[in-house]
């Protein structure tokens, strides 16, 4: 067992967990943040992606110990009150989701993609950058549209700030 302290969606969290506990299980089972999903055992699908210190990371292969002291943001932590994050709004407006199971991981991944490219994205880049996320429902057509749309919205939002 080890004691860890981290910040999750702006709130300080401390927990005593088995050393083998994965971050995704801390989030889901201990903190009840069930928005982060598990879709595989091999770090292939991206359903579990969260941000650790601002970078997209697969929480199914991150030990809680590795996140000790870090700032973790999950899908539950990206909207401001009732105001959706531009990426969330873009997914809804472009029908970028169906069953919604891959969606939290997609959105967290997509936000990171837009940040890293500073909003300068084209279709080929988005498709390439999404290679760590699997969606079985949408055929990606509308996910790609959503990310491109959000890239524009995030630029506007950043300019306004």
């Amino acid at each position: 067992m080890s004691s860890v302290k981290l910040t999750v969606n702006g709130k300080a969290v401390s927990a005593d967990v088995e050393d083998r506990t994965l971050l995704v299980h801390l989030l889901r089972d201990h903190l009840g943040l069930t928005g982060t999903h598990v879709g595989c055992d091999t770090s292939q699908c991206g359903a579990c992606i969260v941000h650790i210190d601002g970078r997209a990371v697969k929480s199914c292969t991150t030990l809680v110990g590795q996140a000790n002291g870090a700032n973790v943001t999950t899908i539950e932590g990206i909207s401001k009150g009732d105001t959706l994050h531009p990426m969330q709004a873009a997914f809804r407006d472009n029908h970028g989701l169906q069953c919604g199971y891959c969606t939290p991981g997609m959105i967290m991944s997509a936000i990171d993609i837009v940040h890293r490219h500073q909003g300068d994205l084209d279709e080929a880049t988005v498709r390439h950058e999404l290679e760590g996320n699997i969606c079985r429902c949408t055929g990606y057509h509308n996910i790609v549209k959503s990310v491109l749309d959000a890239a524009g919205r995030m630029k506007v939002a950043a300019a306004a700030e």
């Binding site: 997914f91 279709e123 079985r136």
Partner: protein, 784 residues
């Protein structure tokens, strides 16, 4: 306001919870005192169980109990069933082997459960499952169709000699043979439809809770049809009585057919919750999903098509071997028979068809319906035959199809189906235009100059959706009715709840069903909520599969709404002293035509519930129920055209263009329809180029993770060009045909046909990986 009605691109109501992480899937359910289940599964494809030693596991930390297959048998829990009876051509019923939820004596595929550990935590359950010692005596294995039907094949179930489950036929054999004798040309092919894993992103899960005081069970499960699950679990498996079992399928993360069936783990979770007196949760990991979710497709087919001298089709002969895996899953027997061979006329006028289907047991995971269920296999056979025929007859593939299209409706095929309506020429025209077919030769020449092989492939598919009517499917052997139910509750304040027996696992019913109601009453969709997926809330239903929710589920809504509206009009007529026939509904108000007299919906509803001033003899309340049983299947159809470019140096296929022109009848929400098509296309293209569930000779599944099974990723797929032509379905009140499976049915042959066009011959098997394509090109060059 009407902008939210039928035909509007309304953004989805359900999305808010999904994009904010507030969806509630089965694995998100946590109950007080919950335990976790981990299954002990066979590492062998075929073996006798000599002994199971659970003592070490029972002593491990956190272990509540370890239960075996023998205990399940002792507790008289029933074997899993297949619910569609098929008879062989000699009249004998299909030969079904026993499938206990956990094997007491013999395991028949890798992953077959033999015991289950119940423990305080997920990890403790897994640790202890490792410690259960099972002694096996290995038996010879038949891991594919050819091995299973070989003369010396191992016997998988004593009930099915030679591993043949049934040998079934449809059509007129003598007349078809006669047609072949008269043929000017015959095109013959061997066609393999490769085996797939459905891979919904949400792994299957079950949470079971037993309440001893009420002798009542609750099951949360990843199901496409919770009522059927309750029915089967109680009527056949003896797990719980129907009125003492509540099945809840909350948000479900994709199904594609794989969550229609009732699986061993759900039965065991219920049974174990009673045995242990604790709630039990089981969640599949991805490898378990690969091993135990029902797989799809897996056909070997010999097909021949006969043409007269004018290139008109005069006969079709098909012999298919279908792999049903180690046990017969819930609907497996119907997939390669009534859902496959009955579609073998395609879009074409074929006077004589004869098909034989032999289904066999193998030592592999059960095979059942997967997106399209039989229809993709039929379309693949038909459309590859047409493409190959065009090449052999040296005619344009589009024109050969057009020449043979059915143009008069209704059209009775020789294999049961009566197509109600369609315009196949219109779909083809739309696709040809969108694909710029006229410009293709120039593009091909240019590609050739650049050292690339370019090909264009067609697929003119038809499918049968909304399986029905109940009487007809019953006569064909189905064990359930295929109606749908709906209850409309207009609350006293005028808000409306629609309780439907169909179930959403990503199709957007909460939005589209509300659009249908909003359209009728002229109210915003926000005033309507959709309730589904809980047997305690919804009276009954048949669930969602086969694109039935629109054509059948929404029709049930219409039927119930008609009753509600009729009653509301009576109330209004009474209160306004007008004739019922003069009442019209507009913008949420009931108006007397030609006057300014009106009552808004909430006031009508309130009147119904206050019941102070109702017509004499009228029951209070405004709440009606309908069961809708359709009169026929619906027949969505379309034309897909795929253009690819292949690098002969690497064999890699790149998409240049993918065009889909579909006829789905009336579209309730075009945005959602397009999304359904996109997803289907991805699955069909995935089959063509990437996906393959591979067993080795010893029956080990060598593609049991996303590292080994190539799921299509964003980079593997193109953007799609969609268009629609419309002929309204005459068989249901909304004119809907269904759109959920079309993409998966139509796209696979289009892609493979494009590759065969590029490489100039048909010797290619799926998935057409770069390796496969490179070898196909090379083989051709060697042959020349």
């Amino acid at each position: 306001m009407m902008s939210e009605g039928i035909g509007a691109r309304v953004v989805r109501k359900e999305d808010k919870r999904f994009i904010t992480g507030k969806g509630k899937y089965t694995d998100d359910v946590r109950l007080h005192g919950m335990t976790y289940a981990s299954f002990v599964r066979s590492p062998h494809a075929h073996a006798k169980i000599k002994s199971i030693d659970v003592e070490a596991a029972k002593a491990m930390p956190g272990v509540v109990d370890v239960l075996t297959g023998q205990q399940l048998v002792d507790d008289k829990i029933g074997n899993l069933i297949c619910g569609w009876m098929i008879h062989s051509k000699d009249g004998t019923p299909m030969k079904m082997g026993a499938w206990p939820a956990m094997a007491p004596e013999t395991v028949r595929f890798v992953g077959n459960a033999v015991a289950v550990v119940i423990a305080e935590t997920r990890n403790q359950a897994r640790d202890a499952a490792e410690a259960v010692e099972v002694a096996y005596e290995e038996l010879p294995v038949a891991a594919d169709i050819r091995a299973a039907i070989a003369p010396d094949a191992p016997q998988i179930h004593p009930e099915a000699p030679g591993n043949v489950i049934y040998d079934w036929t449809i059509g007129d054999e003598a007349a078809t043979n006669e047609a072949f004798k008269k043929a000017a040309n015959v095109v013959a092919m061997d066609i393999v439809n490769n085996r797939l894993s459905p891979n919904a992103m949400e792994p299957r899960a079950a949470v079971a809770e037993y309440d001893p005081a009420e002798e009542h069970f609750t099951l949360y499960t990843t199901s496409q049809n919770p009522h059927v699950a309750r029915l089967v679990l109680s009527a056949f498996y003896n797990v719980a009585q129907e009125h003492k079992l509540r099945v809840i399928a909350p948000d479900v993360g994709g199904g594609f057919g794989s969550k229609i069936f009732i699986y061993p783990e759900e039965m065991v979770a219920l049974w174990a919750s009673k045995r242990t007196g604790r709630p039990v949760k089981w969640t599949s990991d991805r490898t378990e999903a690969f091993l135990t979710d029902a797989h799809g497709r897996d056909h070997l087919t010999k097909a021949e098509m006969a043409f007269d001298k004018d290139n008109k089709i005069i006969g079709l002969r098909v012999k298919t071997h279908a792999n049903l895996g180690a046990y017969m899953s819930l609907f497996s027997s119907s997939v390669p028979t009534y859902l496959y061979a009955t579609l073998l006329s395609g879009q074409y006028n074929i006077p004589n068809i004869f098909a034989e289907v032999v289904s066999v047991y193998t030592n592999t995971a059960p095979v059942d319906a997967y997106r399209g269920a039989g229809r993709p296999e039929a379309s693949f056979v038909m459309e590859r035959l047409m493409e190959t025929a065009a090449r052999q007859l040296k005619v344009d593939p589009a024109e050969l199809r057009r020449k043979n299209f059915i143009t008069q409706f209704p059209h009775q095929t020789p294999v049961i189906m009566a197509y109600d309506t369609g315009d196949f020429g219109a779909s083809l025209d739309a696709a040809l235009k969108a694909a710029d077919y006229a410009g293709f030769p120039a593009r091909k020449a240019k590609a050739k100059a650049e050292g690339k092989l370019r090909g264009i492939g067609f697929s003119c598919y038809i499918e049968a959706c909304g399986i029905a009517p109940s009487k007809a499917v019953g006569s064909l052997g189905a064990g359930v009715g295929l109606w749908e139910s709906c209850e409309v509750r207009v609350n006293p304040v005028g808000t409306i709840e629609i309780l439907t027996g169909s179930h959403s696992h990503g199709q957007g019913h909460e939005t589209t069903f509300a659009q249908v109601v909003a359209d009728r009453l002229g109210i915003p969709t926000s005033q309507v909520s959709i309730v589904h997926g809980d047997t305690d809330k919804v009276q009954f239903g048949m669930g969602t599969y086969g694109s039935r929710s629109g054509a059948v589920g929404m029709s049930a809504i219409v039927k119930a709404m008609e009753k509600v509206e009729a009653k509301a009009k009576k109330i209004v007529a009474h209160q306004l002293e007008a004739s019922e026939n003069d009442i019209v509904i507009e913008n949420g108000e009931f108006k007397v035509t030609g006057t300014d007299k009106k009552i808004a919906l909430p006031m009508v509803a309130l009147a119904a519930y206050t019941a102070h001033n109702l017509p004499d003899g009228m029951e209070p309340g405004l709440k009606e129920t309908a069961f809708y049983d359709p009169t026929n299947f619906t027949f969505p159809a379309g034309a897909y055209i795929c253009e690819v470019e292949i690098d002969p140096g690497t064999g890699k296929t790149e998409f240049v263009n993918f065009v889909a022109a579909d006829d789905f009848g009336r579209l309730i929400n075009p945005m959602i329809v397009e999304g359904q098509v996109h997803g289907g296309l991805a699955q069909g293209i995935g089959q063509a180029l990437l996906e393959h569930a591979v067993y080795d000779k010893s029956g080990q599944l060598v593609t049991a993770s996303f590292m080994d099974y190539a799921m299509p990723r964003a980079d593997d797929l193109p953007s799609f060009k969609l268009s629609h032509t419309t002929t309204l379905c005459p068989g249901n009140p909304l004119g809907i045909k269904g759109c959920g499976e079309a993409g998966a049915i139509g796209s696979t042959p289009a892609v493979i046909n494009a590759i065969t066009d590029a490489i100039g011959h048909d010797r290619i098997t799926m998935p057409a990986s770069p390796n496969e394509v490179w070898h196909a090109i090379h083989q051709k060059q060697a042959a020349e």
